[in-house]
């Protein structure tokens, strides 16, 4: 754990006093301290292009009165800068008369170990694997014209000091290993990307030459795309594969169920609580408690232990995801979903690992049920317009389905749908739920946080496929 006051001219107890004084008449708030160390080692174009290390230290001081949030952050943990922040907060909240909410649920459960993944593997070993990846892929297929591979590792220590001196802390490891490969044949170029990661050591994901299977998957996707033909344009049936395609769930309904948009009534879901928003058999949860997953957290960035929150149960909308501010204003409780990218940003309700649970159908049944449509296996990323509910995601591996059979691969295309209605179009839920490989980052209001997704195969009756073939 970091000792944030060791090299500072302000002691912990003095800092606690500043926090208590500043937040005296506020409804909520805290001093959030963060120390993160991260590395990036990148191989590209046959060379180690980049080996970099970042160490980031800072605090964010927040005071809340009613609906108003005052926030101030700085890199210097010192008497002077804490005092300046405190004054800044007080000047925004001129006439406060709130009651500080001291309630913070406690839990002893931890969902990852206190490790520093950067230190657990030395630089030479990392460089060796990257070179092995490069050689392996280039010797495996002479169509390989470009290979990029990288290690991203991080250890983030946080501490939350609340009014009255309550202190909560967490140490969060996070790693990711990515491979991208470009093939060229007859002047045509296509890429394939794959990666793995989570909150454990690099070796957990790469041992026993497991990096080879990451390479194989990237190469397989690129090879499929080299054979792809233009995607169709228009409304049709879509079968989604299990795992990573669950970014559909993340974009289509996840963001729309975050507390802030619903308190502000700007989400297409704000007036649908308790109503049917999905087909029977569709259950969606957001779970921060799965061991070592990328989106898991022992406590959120306000100190609340995370949980498994049921969002949609058998088609019925049950809960929104809440941080402390939105929970208080909506007269409910925090679901441990208060997150921020780092100390530079305010807390917002965010997703953790968003998952659609298994049903009873097989993927085979779904494919058979489609006369004309597409089978989408892998995706790049997605985006949603919260207010209109329209969302998109981009296929990176997809096939056409003709008369119940999987046909040729099709070029990357964007799929677009309507969040509040898409889940009513789900006509089969598969029995093959799978987690994603641990690579997702979700963006909201300029803040990126690591998240996970999971789903079984699903059949959607109607979606618009954004190809070029009419």
């Amino acid at each position: 754990m970091s000792n944030f006051f060791e090299k500072s001219d302000i002691s912990r107890s003095e800092a606690e006093n500043v926090v208590s004084q500043t937040l005296q008449k506020c409804d909520d708030g805290e001093l959030y301290l963060e120390n993160s160390k991260s590395e990036s080692i990148l191989l590209d174009d046959n060379k180690i292009k980049n080996s970099s290390y970042n160490s980031d230290l800072g605090f964010g001081f927040r005071a809340i009165s009613g609906e108003v949030v005052a926030y101030s952050h700085s890199n210097e943990i010192s008497k002077n800068s804490l005092k300046q922040s405190s004054e800044n907060l007080k000047s925004t909240l001129k006439s406060v008369k709130g009651t500080y909410n001291h309630e913070i649920p406690k839990s002893n459960k931890k969902y990852y170990d206190n490790i520093n993944p950067i230190e657990q593997k030395n630089l030479n070993e990392k460089i060796k694997i990257l070179n092995d990846v490069n050689n392996y892929l280039r010797s495996k297929d002479d169509k390989v014209k470009q290979v990029t591979a990288n290690f991203l590792g991080e250890q983030k220590s946080i501490e939350i000091i609340r009014s009255g001196g309550e202190t909560l802390s967490d140490v969060r490891p996070l790693v990711r290993f990515n491979v991208s490969v470009m093939l060229e044949e007859n002047g045509r170029k296509e890429t394939g990307v794959y990666g793995v990661g989570g909150r454990q050591s690099y070796d957990t994901y790469l041992k026993d030459d497991n990096w080879k299977s990451v390479c194989d998957e990237a190469l397989r996707i690129a090879s499929v795309n080299l054979e792809s033909k233009p995607a169709p344009a228009g409304e049709m049936k879509v079968v989604l594969g299990p795992g990573w395609p669950a970014i559909l769930i993340h974009e289509a309904v996840g963001h729309g169920l975050e507390g802030d948009f619903n308190r502000k009534k700007t989400s297409a879901f704000h007036n649908l609580m308790g109503q049917k928003v999905a087909s029977e058999g569709v259950t969606i949860v957001d779970d921060g408690t799965i061991d070592n997953r990328r989106g898991s957290l022992t406590i959120d960035d306000e100190g609340t232990p995370t949980e498994k929150t049921v969002l949609i149960e058998n088609g019925i909308l049950k809960n929104f995801m809440q941080d402390r501010l939105n929970a208080r204003l909506m007269k409910t409780r925090s679901t441990g979903s208060g997150r921020r990218e780092n100390y530079r940003h305010i807390v917002l309700p965010r997703m953790r690992n968003t998952m659609m649970l298994s049903g009873k159908h097989t993927q085979e049944e779904m494919i058979k049920a489609v006369d004309k449509g597409i089978f989408a296996v892998s995706f790049g990323g997605g985006q949603v317009d919260i207010t209109s509910g329209k969302f998109v995601f981009n296929c990176t591996e997809a096939y056409e389905i003709v008369n119940g059979k999987i046909g040729s691969p099709i070029k990357g295309a964007t799929l677009i749908g309507d969040g509040p209605s898409i889940l009513k179009e789900v006509s089969m839920v598969g029995n093959d739920m799978m987690m994603d490989p641990g690579i997702g980052t979700c963006g909201k209001a300029g803040q990126g946080v690591p998240v996970g997704v999971a789903q079984p195969s699903i059949l959607i009756n109607k979606m618009t496929v954004g190809g070029t073939k009419l």
């Binding site: 952050h73 209109s388 329209k390 981009n394 964007t414 009419l470």
Partner: protein
Amino acid sequence: MVKDQEYLEKKASYCLGLAKKLGATDTSVIVKNSVSETVNFRNKKLDESNRSDNLGISITTYIGKKKSSISSSNLLNDNLNILIEKCVETTKNTPEDEFNSLPDRDLLAKEVKDLNLYDDTHIENGQKIDYLKKLEAVASNNKKIVNTESSFTQNKSNFVLANSEGFCDGYKTSSFTASSVTVAKDEKSMERDYEYTSKCFVKDLDDADELGKLAANQTIRKLSPKKIGSEKIPIIFDKRIAKGILSTFASAISSSAISRGTSFLKDKVNQKIFHDKINVYDKPDMLKGLGSRNFDSEGVKTDTLKLVDQGILKHYLIDTYNGKKLNLKSNGRCGGTSNLYFDNGNINFKDLLNSSSKCLYITETIGHGSNIVTGDYSVGATGFLIENGEFKHPINEITIAGNFKDMFQNITLANDLEFKYATNSPTMLIEGMVVAGK
């Protein structure tokens, strides 16, 4: 207050000295400080205030052709000592790359012109609040507007870039930004839209009421959208979307994409890639320009480039490393373009709308559907159906798709260029794209 030049230079020279002592043969350092203050309003009331003070340093050390870098927000010498030692140690253990080096000395910027990028005016939170009150009063005037959010940000930055070749320079910049996001509702739909203004000098900002009025009107006209059928149809891109197409062009001609062979524009210099009426400039020395700069992030001087001349690609965007790899000189584009724009076409906005009997006018796209390896483009879109030059009705839940190679050849530009962002385009018409809808 943002830290002064003297403080930043002192930190930079400390790092250069220490790195040299520890065995680095070359070093470059960037020290930055930015202080920004934001006030947010929601539904005519104060919602959030945010003060952010960001200090940061990044150091790259070279030992011969070996290179490594570190960055940190903790500028205490104690911490810098540990990090620089780590950086030099990592450099020793990183394999050589023959193209690694500082920029050539004769390419470094010699004079730093005052480009009018810094406004010393300080806008107190009280003044920000006055602006936002005025803005939101206008934005929420129409009953159909059910939610308004707006913000005003003042940002002041300072930086110093120094390297062991003796380069050491930097300057202050400022920006003032106001935005308005509104949500409108009717029986059938709920829609959101926005308007935005950002300038180096606060007196150049758009009026609050003008901003609020535009945001509200742009949102209300999106209500009750319809989905249309799938077809091939001319598409007009609003300026705020057209600039995105120019950004994609810029990433496809970056020397890193070219040297890696991962761009559809590789080997296209001196070839015709756009319609012959198209000219593209990147002009770093615009006074008060949002993308203006005296030198790039390696200290290399930046001259104006005519990237595309009558449809012909003339330059890549070159940095030192990829330049050496491609056997080309850096043209000061490490870190990307400056003030990038399509020059005006010779048809006015109205005539552009009238140029075909039926077309789509796109005001927003969503998704990351630009692939610079293949040139394929497919994104979700929102906009309006235009018939005989008239806005018929709003449309949504469609996608638009094509390939940049074809799209670039089929661009017609209006003559309504303005410098609202760092990258700018006049209104743009592209023929031959496919819309997927019903």
